[in-house]
Amino acid sequence: MSVVNYGTREITCKIVYYGPGRSGKTTNLQHVYSKLPEERKGKMVSLATDTDRTLFFDFLPLDLGTISGFATRFQLYTVPGQVYYAATRKLVLQGVDGVVFVADSQARQMAENIESLQDLHANLAEEGLDPRTIPLVMQYNKRDLPASEISPVEELDETLNFRGVPHFSATAVTGGGVFETLRSISSLVLSRLSAPAVKES
């Protein structure tokens, strides 16, 4: 769980973008990075293959500066969507505070979306996190594709969003829906912000 640390006056939240390969997870981070003011631009670490697919993970530290006296940092990660990088996905999920599930709206990708969502739940459970309660937001990406190629939002929601969490249509390649998604997951994560545990005895 994200923690407000009164000792070091820090708040740090880790958000992971999860989803099948080529659903647009890296594109989300790239858009966020492109909108950062120069003075806040750190390094976006992106390990990609020659075909621009995420090989291991992307990492974007968001230094939000001092808010209410606390140095506030968001850490945005993506996981590699390809099935064979299971170990890396588990690694990236360690200590996660919130998850954005980036689904590919293309109708032919529905099976991949479902498989990835099941993989997410399994990996969260392995990390000792409850998939039913961890802050989660669904993003239905690639809504700019022809209607004949994509599933209706209602169908995506019915199939993938059984928790009824906030969901957003997005066209990450042009930035549509990217910050709406980030704001939503940030709000959910921050609403669970807690002070470090204080032992009663």
Partner: protein, 81 residues
């Protein structure tokens, strides 16, 4: 309902500022409600373990870069195999 992704250039320019404003407001509310200074003073044994920080996600001083690279590299090599 899903929100429509349509945006104007002007709106896009303020996306980060809007995000920061929302986050700031949320944090201000949470910090105020959690601030130990406005609660009763804890006894010596009740001092928050603040210096310990989070256990699952090691945070380095430089914007949270991964500090357990040897472990990460091992896992990456394992995947490549």
């Amino acid at each position: 309902m899903a929100k429509e992704p349509q945006k104007t250039d002007e709106e896009e320019g303020g996306e980060f500022a809007d995000f920061l404003a929302d986050v700031s407001q949320e944090i201000a509310q949470r910090v105020e409600s959690l601030d130990p200074s406005i609660k009763k003073q804890p006894e010596a044994k009740k001092t928050p373990a603040a210096a310990e920080g989070r256990k699952k996600t090691p945070i380095a001083a430089d914007a949270g870069l991964i500090v357990e690279w040897p472990n990460v590299v091992d896992r990456i090599i394992e995947e490549i195999r």
